[in-house]
């Protein structure tokens, strides 16, 4: 065991001295966590009031009916009068309005049973939600016109009676109602998300300095020398594995502490975070060991490890929350250690009980056991004299 510690100590000294470990394990994730945390304001669009322009070419009561209906919708939409359709188009294009509704001439007459009209809604394809809101408001208005007319036709009522019916329609409750339930929010703020995402992304690079340096030692001939010394193969392996684990733990712990105190990231319950970090480091080391045993040369291992780390990081949500997009991507995302680590943190930092880390921890350990077992079987080949 002493030999194993010596090997680990040698590796760590070597990596700290050429600064590569410091760069990969601390500087890179910090720089990126800072840059992304400062620039990404949020993953889902935040709330704001939408401004919808109203071009009234009808000059009848229809416009005020629409305004009243909107007032009920609350503060999420603000109406603004606009003089002409051309003006509306310009304001929508410039982004000053989220959408514009053109009430055509004859709309009020149409609502009394006159000839049908067409309500134009102007939207900007760059702002599809604005277009959606404008269209929905106009659509709901057109529907209410239809409801009244169908009722008055079924009753055989004339225009005067229809007006009375209008009063009745706005007072009766709709047959299909929507009851609101506000949910809690369980996502990390961008600052915390990127602190954690970058930490786990670069973790996969940091642990490479251990296991995969076996190939380097073999190419340089230092492995043969170690084998010639009274050191068991197991000690060599243990030494290399400990280098990976030590770099992983130190890197993750430092990042958690630095981002917590310098960037104001909210990692959540320290015990839960510690569990997740331990499991993530183990999983990263096992995955790295497995990929290393598949390669023939150091260069090959390096290339494959970078590819695997980058692909897992991309799918696992290190650069943006992939699971958000749903479908196949969300499923693929679940196959990465990154996603489980980040999901565990997400539940933890939103005030979840300590038990929320159990599931991610078990999955991460399962990844460790599976990859680690295959790697152990294959790795003997690497340390043959």
């Amino acid at each position: 065991m002493r030999a194993a510690f010596l090997i680990t100590a040698k590796d760590l000294r070597q990596r700290v001295r050429d600064r590569s470990a410091v760069l990969v394990a601390v500087v890179a994730p910090l720089a990126l966590a800072f840059a992304l945390g400062a620039t990404v304001s949020g993953f889902s669009a935040g709330s704001r009031a939408f401004t919808i322009g109203l071009v009234d070419l009808d000059h009848g009561p229809a416009a005020s009916t629409l305004q009243d209906a909107l007032a009920k919708a609350g503060s999420s939409v603000v109406m603004k009068d606009v003089a002409t359709p051309a003006e509306g188009r310009r304001l929508v294009k410039d982004g000053e309005l989220d959408g514009a509704i053109v009430l055509p001439q004859g709309l009020s007459i149409a609502s009394m049973g006159g000839p049908p009209v067409r309500i134009d809604v102007i939207g900007d394809p760059k702002n599809p939600i604005g277009a959606l809101v404008g269209r929905s408001i106009a659509g709901a208005f057109a529907t209410s016109m239809r409801t009244i007319q169908i009722a008055s036709k079924a009753l055989g009522a004339g225009p005067a009676e229809t007006i009375k019916i209008v009063g009745r329609v706005s007072s009766s409750s709709p047959p299909i109602s929507i009851s609101d339930t506000s949910t809690t929010r369980k996502n990390l703020d961008p600052k915390t998300y990127y602190a954690a995402a970058m930490a786990v992304f670069f973790l996969f690079f940091a642990v490479q300095f251990g296991i995969s340096s076996l190939l380097h030692e073999r190419a340089d001939g230092t492995l043969a020398r170690m084998l010639a010394a009274p050191i068991s193969r197991r000690s060599i392996l243990a030494g290399k594995a400990m280098t990976s684990l030590a770099l992983g733990f130190v890197s993750m712990t430092m990042l958690a502490l630095i981002t917590r105190y310098a960037l104001g990231a909210h990692w959540g319950n320290p015990l839960g975070v510690a569990v997740l970090i331990v499991c993530a480091v183990l999983a990263a080391t096992a995955v790295t060991a497995l990929v290393t045993t598949l390669a023939k040369t150091y260069e090959q291992a390096n290339a494959w490890l970078s590819i695997v780390s980058v692909v897992l990081g991309m799918l696992g949500g290190s650069f943006f929350p992939v699971a958000q997009s749903g479908g196949v991507l969300a499923l693929l995302s679940k196959a990465t250690p990154h996603a489980w680590f980040l999901n565990g943190l997400q539940d933890l930092s939103s005030g979840g009980a300590l038990s929320v880390v159990v599931e991610p921890a078990i999955v991460l350990l399962a990844i460790t056991v599976v990859c680690g077992a295959v790697a152990l079987v294959r790795i003997r080949r690497l340390i043959e004299p």
Binding site: A28, S41, D124, Q149, L155, I176
Partner: protein
Amino acid sequence: MKVLAIVRTELTRTFRWRANIFFLLIMPMGLILLLGIAYGNSNARFGVFEKGDGALAGQLVKALRSEPGLDVRGYGSQDSMEKAVERGYVSAGLVIPSSFDARIQAGKPVALRYLARPDSLAPQVRIAVESAVSAQGSDIAAARIVRGVQKTSLQGALRRVKAVDLAAPASVELLSARGGKYPKSQGQFDRSASTMLLLFVFLSALTGSVWLIETRRLGVARRMLSTPSSAREILLGIVIGRWVITLLQSLSIVVFSGLVFSVDWGNPLGTAAVILSFSLVAVGAGVLIGTLFSSEQQAGPVGMIVGLTFAAIGGSMAPLDTFPATMRKIAHVTPHAWANDAFNHLLVNGGGLSSVALDVAVLCGYAVVLLTLATWRLRRVLTA
């Protein structure tokens, strides 16, 4: 001729290492795909959980799916949908109860649960849901009015309402503010293609600095200098070699993304000007890093850090227009921000070469400064 030979050596050395094909080409394409799928449109994401499988419930979901600007995602359980709302995968979710069809057919009121995420677009999405729901409830609403006036049974009133033959008094037409009909879908991959091009061109030029260090470590540079070639020819060969690699990479991203994802790259002259000038900046930065460090273990991570950080700050990860105002100003320290602005003029506003003149000029300025520094340093480290 000697310059060309050096250029060829650089190319051979780069592409003989197969993994480079992954980093230069496959990875950018993969990210263009991923980002395009995840953020390609700025639609509101909305979840639906249908407890039953009634025809009316199906109709409602179909109506919601056909709304422009709304991405409807079906969920298999209320629990999974609630989780998605909480995590912000969707802004809001609608629960359609299993009794939906039966209650509507019986004329009984139905309440749909609307799970809204605080501080999201949930109120705006609700307007769309209300509109779709009111369209579906129109007949029943009319029947209730009839019942209110004539005191008949609701079923009787509903039969009379259904018998009415009426053309819709008002139809709604959605028009684009940019002229013509509102497009059904827009280039989902356009934005991710241009931002990823910039990210990867710069990143690979910077991590390519490792090759320059290898050139020195393996003694390739010394051997070149021992031949009757001037330092100027060697420098030129190395810089042009790196530039050609960068341009080949850009060209393949443009061509492949055009073919596979039908990305519209806008005005060819404008796009070419941006790519040519930006790739020069990238080469200058890459060569400079290659001369500032002496080991691959240092230059590699530094290249990655600078490449990814600049991309993040310069709007190649999150779009510049979502940045806080101060950050947007700071962003323009990076060449990425200028190039992203230029692509915005070209691809979103459909501008031509003149619309990007300022951005390209700034990029050329960066290129001149970086290349001057880089060749000065390169001459020193190679001939030292």
